[in-house]
Amino acid sequence: MADLRINFAGIKSPNPFWLASAPPTNSGYQVQRAFEAGWGGAVWKTLGEPILNISSRFAGTHFNGQRMAGFNNTELITDRPLEVNLKEIYETKKRFPNHTIIASLMVEPQQEKWHEIVKRVEAVGVDGFELNFGCPHGMAERGMGAASGQVPELVEKQTMWAKEVAETPVIVKLTPNITDITATAYAAVQGGADAISMINTINSLAGVDLDTWNTIPHVAGKGAHGGYCGPAVKPIALNMVAECARNSTINVPISGIGGVSDWRDAVEFMLMGAGGVQVCTAAMHHGFSIVEDMVDGLNNYLDDKGLDSVEDLVGKSVPKYSDWGDLDLNYKTVARINTDTCINCNKCHIACEDTAHQCIDMLTAKDGSNYLKVHEEDCVGCNLCSIVCPVDGAIDMIEIPSDEPMTWKERETAIKQPSCGISLVK
């Protein structure tokens, strides 16, 4: 049994699985049920003003029979009065003193507003704050949420205001609706953030109704962009976590959010530098009980890997993430088809023939059976065939011996060298 506890920027939690600030953390009743089910922490649904919402507000993107591959919402922050939320936070913390409760906050960009809310909320005993600079709709139109979150100076300033009065750690939650996440991450660090979390939802339009021509969802026949989350956004979130994790100027812990659906996703985020993860859509899809397999699966994984503690995972893959210019230009792989396992659907052939490098031949053996073969000289190792192949193990990507490694950056330097007999060896 490995140790699943984390110490995230000084915030202690029994395990790295927190519910993200969203509908699952809207009330004391829900958060208490979640803790009973095994969640290590909860970031309370964002507190602040105004208290209003619309109906309807969610849409799912279903893909080829898989429901909620992505999820879209136009919900705002909490629509329950602050006093009610504070009372329930207090009660929940009292019942579950060892679980983590973080209060998510959003107010107008004014120093006294931040001071006031931080003080009031801290008084009920939260373990930390998360500043919501991410909500992409509604709040943004009033200069809050993503509207602040897209402006590094506003992120820095507001973080500073929160830090001026907060006694517990302050996490800054970033919006992905920006060109370079490290710019706002850096601003948060400059403002004194103890940690950052990412991502909030991505601007999106889930769909259009083919019969009514209304947007999905619509409010009395009109729609607006919403925030996208769920499994579909995981690669985007993972990249943003990775970019911040490998940036030495952003030297604070990261809470990974975006499409975490099972323990394997969590491991990936942690390997890429997240000190813990937050989950919203997966819990909305399946209920709180999914955390049981998250905890159990993570524990079994750590045992398998011979690791004593989940914290041993954090950042292990960060050194492997770099720039295109650092990749070895001479490294080569080719596809190889295992005729024993191949079911002859020919999907790899047509993918390669029509859209890649025309190197998978459809052949007929002496006994009349069909088989496929890659002419490896022409294969560029793009992976397309193995990605479209429906059968595990039918296509292997084989590493083949190649020349001495050389990266683009090395090549650039080499070309700039005078050609008169100076050795390229460093």
């Binding site: 898989q66 394997r264 009980s289 999914i290 049981e292 397999d293 159990d296 699966g297 079994n300």
Partner: protein, 458 residues
């Protein structure tokens, strides 16, 4: 859905006929199927499983690649979950309750359960640990599913457990009674090993009442679990029954569970008397031993037969012939005392009896003879009445009377589980029922001797 791949039987290598008929799920099938499960809340499949396996949870774990976790969820609720994955009548239980029955196709719960437990078997995982010694001792009489299940839970609760097993190996009918092509012996023996690894002592070749007296174990242990199952097939009470070539179905199936396989059935004509699941097993084993002509004789009709639908279908596919309304009267033998024919009489159905089934009665002057080389009797199982009486337990014709909540018998030290209490509306004779009863027995012994609510070690 019929997933059986090869339906031909080999006469050259009979052992091939006893390989599992249903193929394992391929990794892709398992992944596709596990992702199809809806992960229902308050899922009806759980309620339909007698051992309450948390089915959506174990399936979700297959989908997330947490195979150990998946196997643990199964085996935690059901100490013989690997066997059950193969022998449960899933259509009537878990799969029958799956919400996808009407929407598309029910999830193949049994096969997924088999996939997860196969992983544990292949990886030789010990899934559970013994609890801290609580100083109490329990004797378990009979090492079948009921006894093993009780032993496993008792060991996790910290008891010192000894299983007394008459046969040379534990596992009961899982090991010796259920046909190999549905349940290979290794699977059952792995489950036995899981229990042994918790420190449970299994004394094989030890029959209570013969090798050790009832009073000896009664005085030596704090509690006793009686899990002896059922006994032999009873006598038909017809002439020629002791002839050479007449078999007890259970003994007969047992000979097919361990090599070498008998070759004297090749090309022979076999008649099976009865039409329950055991009769079907005897019939299909005969086919797989190479018999050329296999008939099942039943004195009632198709409508009254007790075999499961899928068993019946399977037997038909194996070319077993069914003769309804046929009652054997006499077994005829040749000069060497070997069976060569069976004299029968035709029956007709009359008024319904107390059980609601129409009573068969002989049709006048309808006697006829069929040529046979072997006769297999499969008309139910008798009970260990002597042993039950030696324990001084109240019973009804060998069905041990228990308190249905606690499984305690009329002798407060003795608890009973499994087939030994089956009958009179007390459950069904199924492996999964035996497992559940064993579990419940363990918990009530804990309550009785230790007094708290049972929680077991992971």
């Amino acid at each position: 859905m019929n997933r059986f791949k090869d339906k031909t039987t080999s006469l050259k290598d009979l052992s091939l006929n006893f390989n599992e008929i249903e193929p394992d799920l391929s990794p892709k099938e398992a992944m596709d199927e596990s992702n199809r499960c809806l992960y229902c809340y308050d899922a009806p499949c759980i309620t339909a499983c007698p051992t309450d396996i948390n089915i959506p949870s174990f399936i979700k774990k297959i989908a997330s690649g947490n195979m150990k976790g998946s196997a643990k969820v199964i085996m935690d609720a059901n100490p013989v979950g690997a066997s059950c994955a193969r022998v449960c009548p899933t259509e009537d239980l878990c799969e029958g309750a799956c919400v996808l029955n009407d929407a598309s196709l029910p999830i193949m719960i049994g096969n997924l359960q088999r996939h997860a437990t196969n992983w544990a078997i292949k990886n030789n995982e010990q899934l559970f640990e013994a609890g801290e010694d609580n100083g109490k001792t329990v004797a378990i009489v009979g090492g079948g599913p009921a006894g093993l299940s009780a032993a496993r839970e008792l060991a996790r609760l910290g008891f010192n457990v000894t299983i007394f097993e008459a046969k040379e190996k534990a596992g009961g009918l899982d090991t010796f009674g259920i046909v190999s092509f549905r349940l290979p012996q290794e699977v059952s023996l792995w489950e036995v090993e899981q229990v042994e690894n918790l420190g449970v002592e299994i004394r094989t070749n030890t029959m209570i009442g013969r090798d050790i007296s009832v009073s000896d174990i009664e005085s030596a242990y704090d509690a006793i679990v009686l899990a002896v199952g059922l006994s032999k097939v009873p006598m038909l009470g017809i002439e020629g029954e002791n002839a050479n070539g007449v078999h007890d179905a259970i003994n007969f199936v047992e000979t097919t569970k361990t090599p070498p396989l008998r070759e004297d059935f090749i090309g022979k004509k076999v008649a099976i008397i009865g039409a329950g699941n055991t009769a079907i097993d005897a019939a299909t084993c005969s086919v797989r031993l190479g018999a050329s002509d296999v008939k099942m004789l039943y004195r009632r009709t198709e409508a009254e037969m007790t075999a499961y639908e899928f068993e019946y279908e399977f037997a038909k596919q194996e070319n077993v012939e069914f003769r309804w309304l046929t009652q054997p009267m006499k077994i005829l033998t040749d000069s060497e005392g070997k069976v060569n024919a069976l004299e029968c009489i035709r029956m007709e159905l009359g008024e319904a009896d107390v059980s609601g089934r129409r009573r068969p009665s002989p049709v006048k002057d309808s006697a006829f003879t069929i040529e046979v080389d072997a006769v297999i009797k499969a008309i139910g199982q008798s009970r260990f009445v002597d042993l039950i009486e030696e324990f001084d337990l109240s019973h009804d014709r060998g069905i041990v009377t228990i308190d249905s909540d606690t499984h305690q018998t009329s002798n407060p030290k003795v608890f009973a589980a499994g087939d030994v209490i089956f009958g009179n509306g007390q459950g069904e004779a199924m492996v999964v029922e035996a497992a559940e009863q064993g579990k419940l027995t363990a918990y009530s012994i804990y309550k009785e001797l230790i007094g708290e609510n049972a929680t077991v070690n992971a």
